[in-house]
């Protein structure tokens, strides 16, 4: 007997309406603007209204924070004078202080904050876990250990950026290698990363213990994270890296959105999961390394930036741009605080972000859990 013929098995037509709806005029889905031709067969772009608002808000906040950053310090400057000085006008001293002292540091802060946060949100999406940021899974520490090696061990012959990159890749390979079998999902992978990070932290200490006190002092800001010890070359490299990395991340945005689902779902929707994961991982590792080469391990920004971005955005997509902007904002504010809070003593930015980020991390761990992290 064929099931199709059986009256009792026929689905209730009222409930499951099998008919294709007639074609209706094309409207953008709720919450989006659409750019493109009438029926969307050619070019058809969707722009989420909310994310436009969020990104503009963050950009304005970053701008204001930057002006404050340039104005405040051991010598407070009038914001109007600062803006004039940026254009090269006003008295020599102000122009020098703004353009030569504070602006490069501000740029370095924006770039590192953006890079850490972008790397963070990429890694979190990859591992489907909010705690899986490069700072927590040991990649920062790996990059730092190698960068410190280049400072204390081999003189200054090797560029810190290249060494940091080597270290970051080594740490990533170790963490992911050790976590095979337990998978990249879940907490065990993170503990493996903490272990790897602890080893590299110890290696850094070991190298600092071997050298003279002066070299050790020179390398110290590196171990806590500070914008003090940056070198011009590594900032430029980071600038290029962040620009390229951001474009690549934007290209990956659609895959990122789907990778938030389980691996099986993502494959079912036609994402080449392994290839995409590898690209995302590499991007995240490179961004982290370049940022560490400038500022040392300020990894907490990689946790806080994405958190802010997600809190502001809708769950429809992975807020890549918003995370980058938030990261830059957090970094600029944290360094501003570090420079001014106990002036003339300058607190390393890494300590400020750790004090802000620690409780945040605890809150994430303690908040009520869904069925899965």
């Amino acid at each position: 007997m064929l099931k199709q013929d059986n009256a009792s098995l026929a689905p209730k037509k009222a409930m499951f309406n099998g008919a294709m709806p007639a074609a209706s005029p094309l409207r953008a889905p709720d919450g989006y603007w659409r750019l493109g031709d009438r029926d969307g067969t050619g070019l058809s772009l969707l722009i989420e209204k909310r994310s436009v608002g969020v990104n503009m808000l963050l950009a304005v906040a970053l701008l204001l924070a930057s002006v404050a950053y340039l104005s405040l310090g051991t010598t407070a400057l009038d914001p109007r004078a600062v803006i004039q000085a940026l254009a090269g006008q006003g008295d020599m001293m102000t122009v020098f202080m703004v353009q030569e002292l504070r602006l490069p540091r501000l740029v370095a802060g924006c770039l590192t904050g953006g890079a850490f946060a972008l790397a963070g949100i990429l890694m979190q999406t990859l591992a489907r876990n909010r705690l899986a940021t490069p700072g927590i899974i040991g990649i920062d520490n790996g990059a730092t250990a190698f960068a410190v090696a280049s400072v204390v061990g081999m003189g200054v012959s090797l560029a810190p950026s290249a060494m940091a990159l080597t270290g970051a890749v080594t740490a990533a390979v170790l963490t992911f290698g050790l976590a095979t079998g337990s998978g990249t999902q879940g907490y065990r992978f993170i503990i493996a990363g903490i272990g790897v990070g602890a080893v590299f932290g110890a290696v850094t200490q070991l190298m600092l213990a071997r050298v003279g006190i002066d070299t050790a002092n020179a390398a110290y800001p590196w171990t806590v994270g500070s914008l003090n010890a940056r070198s011009g070359g590594s900032v430029q490299l980071l600038g290029i890296g962040l620009a390229v990395g951001f474009v690549l991340a934007f290209g990956l945005a659609r895959s990122l959105t789907i990778l938030r689902f389980s691996e099986a779902t993502a494959r079912g929707l036609g994402v080449s999961v392994n290839a995409r994961r590898f690209q995302i991982l590499m991007l995240s590792v490179v961004l982290t390394a370049l940022a560490v080469a400038v500022a040392g391990p300020v990894g907490m920004v990689g946790l806080i930036g994405p958190e802010i971005a997600r809190a502001l955005s809708t769950p429809r997509h992975v807020p890549v741009l918003a995370a980058t902007l938030s990261g830059a904002l957090v970094m600029v504010l944290a360094d501003l605080l570090g420079r001014t809070m106990m002036a003339p003593i300058e607190l390393p930015v890494g300590i400020i972000t750790a004090i802000v980020g620690g409780p945040w991390l605890l809150w994430i761990l303690m908040r009520p859990q869904r069925s899965r992290p």
């Binding site: 903490i194 272990g195 080893v199 200490q205 213990a209 004090i355 761990l365 303690m366 859990q369």
Partner: protein
């Protein structure tokens, strides 16, 4: 647990005897070898009656106290690791990882800033800090079932430690005087510690030793679960509170002498369980010699490896402790203790 257990369990008594023998041997080596210019042969000659003032000073004033301190610190950390793991029923629980040591270090830094002198107040303050750290961690563990997942508890501990570490650095940053006073202490090490400190903590170590001896049997029952333990006529809450107190006293004492040293409390019970299985009483007995053995070996290595300077002990324990951490999480199934 199977994967981590040696196929044939060693007889506990034989094991302890061999561990003690090894410990004696290592202690002797610890007297013979060091960063100073006094070579092992000179030490042996001095011990055999040769008149060598340098050697006598180095051995009896520097290396002997250091060895004794290593023994005490190792015992305290190893046993408190085993206890903490039993109480939280979590094979990853470790005073260093869970923020207990960081709590002690932070408390000492805070006390210094508030005007205490390092010498007088360090020990009780460190013990209070360790207790506060313990209570925080256990509070977190009880909160919404975080403690049911061993790995999440460790993450919370790591976050807590990082936070306290940052706060400690903050304090050191804006108070240069205390920074100089405790900078060498904040990095865990056995170098340059004084025997007076050891004498000062001896009473608390003895008290906790007695408490632990009394509590070992009910603690073993607690491994069967709270209800089962109550059913057997024990008081789980009281036992747990007293054990926590012991852990705080021991970790506080060890940290006060040597500074924060991570991973010893993880490695020692891990090794002990591999030899004698999960029973807490046997684990404790085996931990007692294993802790000092590991600390002393690490300390000897730290003197030799970058001679003439020395490596902080905490660096070495992290170097071999972190792989153990990874090994524990890599085990197919985390053993529930």
């Amino acid at each position: 647990m199977k994967a981590l257990t040696l196929t044939r369990r060693v007889d506990t008594r034989t094991l302890i005897v061999s561990l003690l023998t090894a410990l004696v041997a290592v202690s002797v080596v610890s007297l013979l070898i060091g960063a100073g210019s006094v070579s092992p042969s000179r030490v042996v000659a001095m011990l055999l009656g040769a008149d060598d003032a340098d050697a006598r000073f180095v051995v009896w004033e520097l290396r002997a106290p250091r060895t004794l301190i290593g023994l005490a610190v190792g015992m305290a950390l190893g046993v408190s690791g085993a206890l903490l793991q039993a109480v939280t029923r979590n094979p990853l629980a470790e005073p260093g990882l869970l923020g207990v040591s960081a709590g002690a270090a932070f408390a000492v830094a805070l006390a210094l800033v508030l005007g205490a002198s390092a010498a007088t107040l360090r020990i009780p303050v460190a013990q209070m800090g360790a207790l506060a750290g313990c209570l925080c961690v256990l509070g977190v563990a009880r909160w919404r079932g975080v403690g049911n997942d061993p790995v999440r508890l460790v993450l919370a501990g790591a976050a807590f430690s990082a936070l306290l570490g940052a706060l400690t650095s903050l304090i050191l940053f804006f108070d240069q005087r205390s920074a100089d006073e405790i900078r060498f202490w904040v990095i865990g090490s056995l170098a340059g510690r004084r025997l007076d400190d050891l004498l000062a903590v001896l009473p608390t170590i003895v008290v906790s030793g007695v408490l632990i001896a009394l509590l070992a049997r009910p603690l073993a029952a607690l491994a069967l679960g709270e209800r089962m333990a109550s059913g057997l006529g024990h008081h789980p809450r009281l036992i747990r509170a007293l054990i926590i107190l012991c852990v705080a006293l021991l970790v506080g004492a060890a940290t006060a002498i040597a500074g924060p040293i991570a991973f010893v409390g993880l490695v020692v019970p891990f090794v002990a369980r591999a030899f004698v299985g999960p029973d807490i009483r046997r684990t404790l007995w085996v931990s007692l010699p294993t802790g000092p053995l590991i600390v002393l070996v690490a300390d000897i290595v730290s003197r030799v490896v970058v001679a003439p300077s020395e490596l902080p002990l905490g660096v070495l324990t992290a170097l071999f402790g972190a792989p153990v951490l990874v090994a524990v999480v890599r085990a197919r199934r985390l053993p529930m203790l």
